[in-house]
């Protein structure tokens, strides 16, 4: 292993952190969902932002507990489903998997590294969109478009937002 990879993976074996405050645990997902429901009506250019996903990734990375990660992903996803036109469960399953894998990843990488956060943000956005597309196409038999270029671009944008956003959430 190189020094760079050691730096990225250097948190292995450190004690787990449970520093997220309870109010933040409630308010941040609510605010993220509220933002996603409310903001496109006013700020249409922010429609690409998937804040519930970023909240799920953040909590999963911070808690470093897979069960905790999948449960919070499930909760946020089901809440998001409640506002969608699709049957309840699609976002729930997608975000459950995101929470699980993000928590699993956090046990192997340094989740406070900016580069890791950017990469994780981009990867899970792509994973989220792709999985959602697969589930909707297969389980609901709804033909929805999937643009690779657009997904990559929005993934980069979401990752770019994730880095300062995670830094901000760290201070709560």
């Amino acid at each position: 292993m190189t020094q760079f990879s050691d730096h990225l993976l250097g948190t292995r074996g450190r004690p787990r952190r449970y520093r997220i405050r309870p109010f933040a645990l409630v308010l941040i997902p609510v605010a993220a969902i509220l933002f996603q429901v409310y903001s496109p009506r006013v700020l249409t250019f922010l429609g690409f932002l998937e804040l519930p996903l970023l909240a799920t990734v953040y909590f999963a990375l911070e808690r470093r507990n897979q069960i905790w990660g999948l449960l919070i992903g499930c909760g946020i996803g089901l809440a998001q489903d409640s506002f969608s036109h699709n049957p309840i469960g699609v976002f729930g399953m997608v975000k459950t998997m995101v929470g699980f894998f993000a928590a699993s990843l956090s046990q192997r990488v340094d989740a406070e590294n900016q580069l890791v956060r950017f990469g994780v943000g981009f990867f899970f956005y792509f994973f989220h969109q792709f999985t959602y597309w697969v589930l909707v196409s297969t389980l609901l038999a709804q033909p929805i478009p999937f643009s690779l270029a657009e997904t990559v671009l929005f993934g980069v944008l979401n990752a770019a937002v994730a880095v300062p956003l995670f830094g901000l959430l760290d201070k709560l």
């Binding site: 509220l34 069960i67 499930c74 489903d81 409640s82 506002f83 309840i88 459950t96 998997m97």
Partner: protein
């Protein structure tokens, strides 16, 4: 089994959670039923928050709009203030021009009806002597002005020419302390000598204490001085009291200087006139309205020739009658005549378009056009 569950606890939980959601999804798809409770809960919890957010957004936008409006209003206010100042200046200039035009018109009118042969002149400057009430006019000996000629305005006498040069003349005002002229009162026919005092009022000297003179009485030129022809207004008595010795102390306000001096008349040939018994300088001169404009169309001309008083409604009625005659249409029998049919009401040749547009509008409109108040 227990070992396996502990060993793969997280995977087990993941599979259970995913399975539950998959089952939920399958149930909804299969039964074509939604879970309204979840959506109602979500909507019910979201709407109040969204309402708060919306009111906050709207109030923020309203505040920002108000601030922007305030800025725009301030700019607009500054622009309007600048415009107002410019318009005030323009208004002031136009008023001055109008006043000048009015004075010129009054002067010309007075010049026409005065029996004296006069020459209009404009005050172009004042003398530089300290305390001297002397002005310069733009008419001189080239125009026939001579030393000693009287200078007047329609309101009264102004002074006399003390020096005449080819291009201009000096005029001593009646307020100059060295000015003197013979005057006579209108009511009691009291003779006296007008003397300038170096300020806005003049005195009348050499009136015996025994003679009767009232405040408000008018003085006119007597013609004794051989400068001013008899019968020109001089001024109104404001002070008349008995003096310490033999003569009264009488002060008048010179009428010719009251409206400011810009244009004056130099009397080239004076004619003596009688002193009026009563004199009211504020009395307005009656002027006839100008003659009406020429008729605009042959139809109007025809009616003018026939001496029929025509209003616009009469003309329209006449035109419709002619259209009915030309097109053979009988009104009241149904159908619509061709109102565009050519009838003989074309404009009279030689008249410019719009000529006579104010015909029939009456003297009030004519007076308004001429800038006069209606009488």
């Amino acid at each position: 089994m227990e070992f396996l569950l502990n060993r793969y606890r997280t995977i087990t939980v993941l599979v259970l959670v995913l399975s539950a959601q998959l089952f939920l999804l399958a149930y909804q798809v299969k039964s074509r039923q939604d879970i309204p409770v979840a959506r109602a809960w979500a909507t019910g919890s979201f709407v109040p928050m969204a309402r708060i957010l919306e009111s906050f957004r709207l109030s923020t936008i309203g505040t920002l709009n108000n601030l922007a409006d305030l800025g725009r209003t301030q700019q607009e206010n500054q622009r309007l203030k600048a415009e107002l100042n410019a318009l005030k200046l323009e208004n002031q200039f136009l008023r001055a021009e109008l006043a000048t035009a009015d004075r010129g018109k009054a002067l010309a009118l007075f010049q026409q009806r005065s029996p004296n042969r006069t020459l209009a002149a404009r005050i172009v400057g004042t003398s530089t002597g300290a305390g001297a009430m002397v002005v310069l006019i733009d008419r001189g000996s080239n125009e026939g002005v001579r030393k000693g000629m009287a200078v007047i305005t329609p309101e009264g006498i102004v002074g006399k020419v003390t020096s005449a040069y080819p291009a201009g003349s000096q005029v001593m005002l009646i307020t100059d302390s060295s000015f003197a002229a013979g005057v006579i009162s209108s009511k009691n026919r009291v003779h006296g000598t007008l003397r300038g005092q170096g300020h806005s009022k003049c005195s009348i000297e050499y009136i015996q204490n025994e003679e009767k003179l009232e405040t408000g009485e008018w003085f006119f030129t007597s013609g004794d001085d051989r400068v001013f022809p008899k019968g020109l207004p001089v001024g109104q008595v404001v002070v008349a009291r008995e003096g310490k010795l033999f003569f009264k102390e009488v002060f008048i306000v010179p009428a010719g200087l009251q409206k400011g001096l810009e244009e004056v008349l130099v009397i080239l040939e004076g004619v003596h006139q009688p002193i009026p018994e009563t004199f009211d300088p504020t009395q307005q001169l009656y002027l006839l309205p100008p003659p009406p404009a020429e008729p605009r169309t042959k139809l109007e001309a025809d009616r003018v020739i026939r001496g029929v008083v025509s209003t616009d409604a009469d003309l329209v009625l006449e035109r419709y009658k002619r259209i009915g005659t030309v097109t053979g249409h009988a009104y009241g029998t149904g159908g619509t005549p061709n109102f565009n049919a050519p009838v003989d009401d074309a404009p009279v040749s030689g008249d410019p378009p719009g000529a006579g547009a104010s015909a029939g509008a009456g003297p009030a409109a004519e007076n308004a056009e001429a800038g006069r108040p209606p009488r």
